[in-house]
Symmetry: D2
Subunit: 362 residues, 4 copies
């Protein structure tokens, strides 16, 4: 089903080259400010940046069809619509016979049959994250109401990795002027070079997105099944291209001793804190009040111009495939706002379920 959330629910619709894409957002507390200027700024972060992104032009104008009266949420579902400007899909017809390696063409056709819409990736397109980003603006607005802030950035692209601990305000400042959404201008420039180098060879690169979340109250999440990690990772794996999700120390924990990994408790300004944060802000599936730290691995874009081996599905013969068209040689920068939105959306739902955010009045 194309919906997620128990008390704050997103239902996604549309496809990459159909008339439109959009989503319905249910559970917004009535009275919540819906700031279309902030939404536009978030949407701008998703746009392909000159040189490093696709040249496909989409205005991605967000229309709000329902749920807002006088700039505030009215208590019934908010509907977001983004019309697709570019719907010429002739180029995609051939992928019905010769599926693109690394893409969902093959699984979509196998699962849904010939009627499935695979134009531009159909429902599997990265473009489907646009309404998620718009919904994320609203989620972040709700979180702000109880002081929670969440922010993502490109931590690694190709061989360039940002090893520093970054502060939320620094990230916000750096990434808005940085075409690859890095937290540091110099590293961002190097990451950009990685993308251009791959692009010039008709190839692509992947990377890692880090998302941090500050001021989450203690107690968000549940011990089993509906854990903070489980709910966030379920949502993040919806973003096309994600291959792994880790929290705090993540996979590095495999090589650590318990005495090093355990975060010692301490008292700071009358609050219980931990001296390190290998836990990534979560103990037993529940937030412990320290910053939430999530790392997401994004694979290199599957659409490359280099020739690739595929199969002609009706002839059942090997076929060489050359993909033309306009594609991002690296989707990491454009996935940054999607990861941020995804985390914000899940946090609102979990905060509502846990009683930290009221559903009715604001």
């Amino acid at each position: 089903m194309n919906s997620i959330g128990t008390q704050f629910r997103i239902t996604l619709f549309g496809s990459s080259h159909g008339t439109c894409i959009g989503c319905v957002i249910d559970g917004i507390p009535p009275g919540t400010l819906i700031d279309e200027v902030v939404m536009e700024m978030d949407m701008a972060l998703r746009k392909p940046m000159k040189g490093v992104g696709t040249s496909r032009k989409e205005d991605d104008m967000v229309e709000i069809l329902s749920g807002v009266v006088g700039g505030r949420a009215s208590g019934n579902p908010l509907t977001i619509l983004i019309r697709n400007a570019n719907t010429d899909s002739s180029v995609y017809e051939k992928f019905r016979e010769v599926p693109r390696p690394g893409h969902a063409d093959f699984t979509a056709l196998s699962k849904y049959g010939v009627d499935v819409d695979i134009r531009g990736g159909g429902q599997f397109s990265g473009r489907m994250t646009a309404p998620i980003v718009a919904a994320g603006t609203i989620a972040k607005q709700i979180l702000k109401g109880i002081g929670i802030r969440t922010c993502a950035y490109s931590q690694a692209i190709g061989g360039i990795c940002d090893e520093e601990e970054r502060k939320l305000d620094d990230i916000l400042r750096a990434r808005s002027v940085n075409p690859v959404r890095a937290a540091d201008a110099t590293l961002g420039a190097c990451m950009r070079e990685e993308i251009l180098a791959a692009s010039s060879e008709g190839d692509s690169v992947g990377g890692i997105i880090k998302c941090v979340c500050e001021n989450l109250p203690i107690g968000v999440g549940e011990p089993f099944f509906d854990t903070l990690e489980g709910e966030i990772s379920k949502m993040i794996f919806s973003i096309p291209g994600v291959k792994g999700v880790e929290f705090g120390s993540g996979f590095a924990a495999a090589l650590m001793k318990g005495s090093v990994h355990n975060d010692p408790f301490d008292v700071h300004e009358d609050e219980i804190v931990t001296l390190t944060n290998n836990a990534g802000g979560i103990l037993g599936g529940i937030s412990n009040g320290m910053p939430l730290e999530i790392r997401v691995c994004i694979k290199p874009t599957p659409s490359i111009t280099k020739a690739q081996q595929s199969v002609h599905m009706t002839k059942m013969k090997i076929a060489e495939l050359k993909i033309s068209g306009r594609h991002d040689p690296c989707i990491v920068p454009r996935a940054v706002p999607a990861v941020e939105a995804a985390v914000a959306i899940i946090l609102v739902d979990l905060c509502m379920r846990g009683g930290f955010i009221g559903r009715n009045r604001w």
Copy 2:
């Protein structure tokens, strides 16, 4: 909520040092063989092995309270009960005041208040995976009905990592006689040394579990939200100690070029396959017919005998904590059957939702 699944649903109950733990399994197709001997074998895999595990003795006898008539599922929910033999919990009382670093004591007390049961980790204990393992036996039996097999093993413990591609049959053979549940005897012996070395220093180690799944039909999973990766990772993050989940190439994809990462399609025995499996058997959230490959990172056991810094929660002062009692210096081996069960349970649910397994008759 302590339940997971849409058409095949597990509801967990009990706590580590209460009377019992158990679960209700709903959605088993009537007529499914319930083989208690196989279940016992799966449960045996979860038991602490001599030298490398806790000396706490639990028989972990599985009682089936309902849902079986004449050795077969009857169509109503199957209830599993495991009585707790060892319920002396006096040793845990002090953690109500001085929470263990890396444990859920602090978040549990903050979220649920003084009435919460944190004895032995309460509802956050690794012991809660015992009913999951028992439910996994039934899930694997259902999967077997359409030819699907799933199997997990310890791929890395401490500094020892198994770099080989392992075949499912080899894994099954090796791990049953291997105390650390490795897929290779020699590597398993080295892993055991890692555990013993850490244990002798009053410390603990972590590791990585790999789970493979063969013969999954093409088409399992959904494009958005209910993706194969998302549903599996949500379940796996319920297992205490998990810090990261990755599929196929996983985090290594961040350093790969698209031309290397994309798995070329090929024709093999009249089926479309891929030459490599960086996708880990999944494209666009949907199974592509290749083996499913999942890697799970487990942190080092937080319960160590070395002295640690904690905080006395009522005095709000730093306090040194020394944990005695019997704890596993490495939980990776015992988490192996839990990961395998978790994956099997989610696959049954997704196969039912996708119409690959019927719910009514068998």
Copy 3:
């Protein structure tokens, strides 16, 4: 939450006097024919009929924003949009202070606060059933694929009650030309008189809608919680004005003896049938192959022009209220297609859950 269904899901949005109303329909099997002409005919049944309905004019043009390619469902969610032609809501402002008796003004304002949209009934308006009716057309198309037909009609309006057993084909024929959606022309004319008489006094009348469903396979529904009756009634109570739902003999069963109420089994053309149908086609929450029979009571329209006692909510004083504007003196005829759609939508979901309708290919 404004959505219903597990495998076939409707998410409703919009409000009576906002920009638009609509819904997202998820789970339509790809390839399903989407017949906009039939949809228009169903929508026409919902329109107010001359003399007996409101004079408010709504074209109720259904736009399909997503989910259809070449006249067939594409496998991703179908979005229905109906723009509101008439959004002058100045007349509704006073109900924020003096709530209409029998309406949701009072509860909406209490629950959602001042930001709630109560114009024209807001989200509580009978107008919200328009997208339900459109979704119902698609549900009926899916049901038709396995031979199931469902049909509703006005069985009683005011003092006129249709005591006859009606055949599905007769109902369909009669109600399309009958302004009150009765199954018999003569009775329909009497019912129309009842409405006109009430209307001329500034008053309103209620009635009963009967819905029958033929050819439902044996086995739809579950024994507990997700019973056929429970799922259908939950959906039907969403329709504004419904006060009661009964199946088969319904409330009349209270006065029957078991020997009369029990439907004797019989064999007819190699099928097991029952000689009577007091069960209304359901035994133990599960369809038994006999026609499904549902009766729904609709209260008299609360919007009447007669003066009524209400309360001024800020002054906390009794206030007389006179409602002007255009209102249906009886909503039974217009609720007929909504009940039919509601039943069809739930049956598709239950048939999918039970494996009677596949979700993936068509």
Copy 4:
């Protein structure tokens, strides 16, 4: 699926003549008093009363397997177990071939196949309401915490109907000493006569249960789909034998004019009330602060000793069926506590969803 509820969830297991029946209750706020004496009193209401009930003897001892520490809810799921004392099911074997009219034998066998457990009605038995009643005690305890009281009684049995408006305290007092759970001793005696008269002829009678609920806060329930009426009726239709559910005026509304049906608003002790309560405490799916009034129709017990026509399912021939064994000639009295529990359970869930009851601390 055998579970219901979003934030307060009941999962039912077991069958009438298996080892046991029971349920898991998830979402009890930690610290909630679990009073086993009150639970026993509620369970006693469900027992067959001398003369008018079955002579089958079940002690119905409730064991609490998990979720309680020191008499209070511990924050993890509470598991209720009731062992079946009487499991001789030989008498039921013949119904596998010749299904009982009015029973679920036929649909159960058709849906689940030969492995289904139909002994004693299996999962379809009225006996499955025993754990519901036990769960209801806990639900009522939680409701009590915010001042809500709920209570059901037999309003009609056979031809005897109680036309009076009854006060909650009067009902509670009368029904505890009254074998048919009526709100008036004299009427109760007449109802008892109705049952005995039917019983003496080998027949059975049905009736109507009324449930009232006082002090529900304004704002419980949602406008569409998750309405107060919809959620309650879904739950109530799970109780075996229910044929109809109505709220407030119910089916009588079909014959009322709007000017009579609309409840005029008034001010009473600084609160907005209504002068009449045809709405049954609900406007637009949401509680309006007036008493909730629900009426439930129960069919006559299908198990009668009179000879009935059925069909031999393998021979596909008409067969006469005579049911011996011990059956209630009227299940209305025993369904009274089940209806009360069902309503209480749903109200807790809806109050939690609406933020009227917190989930975490108590």
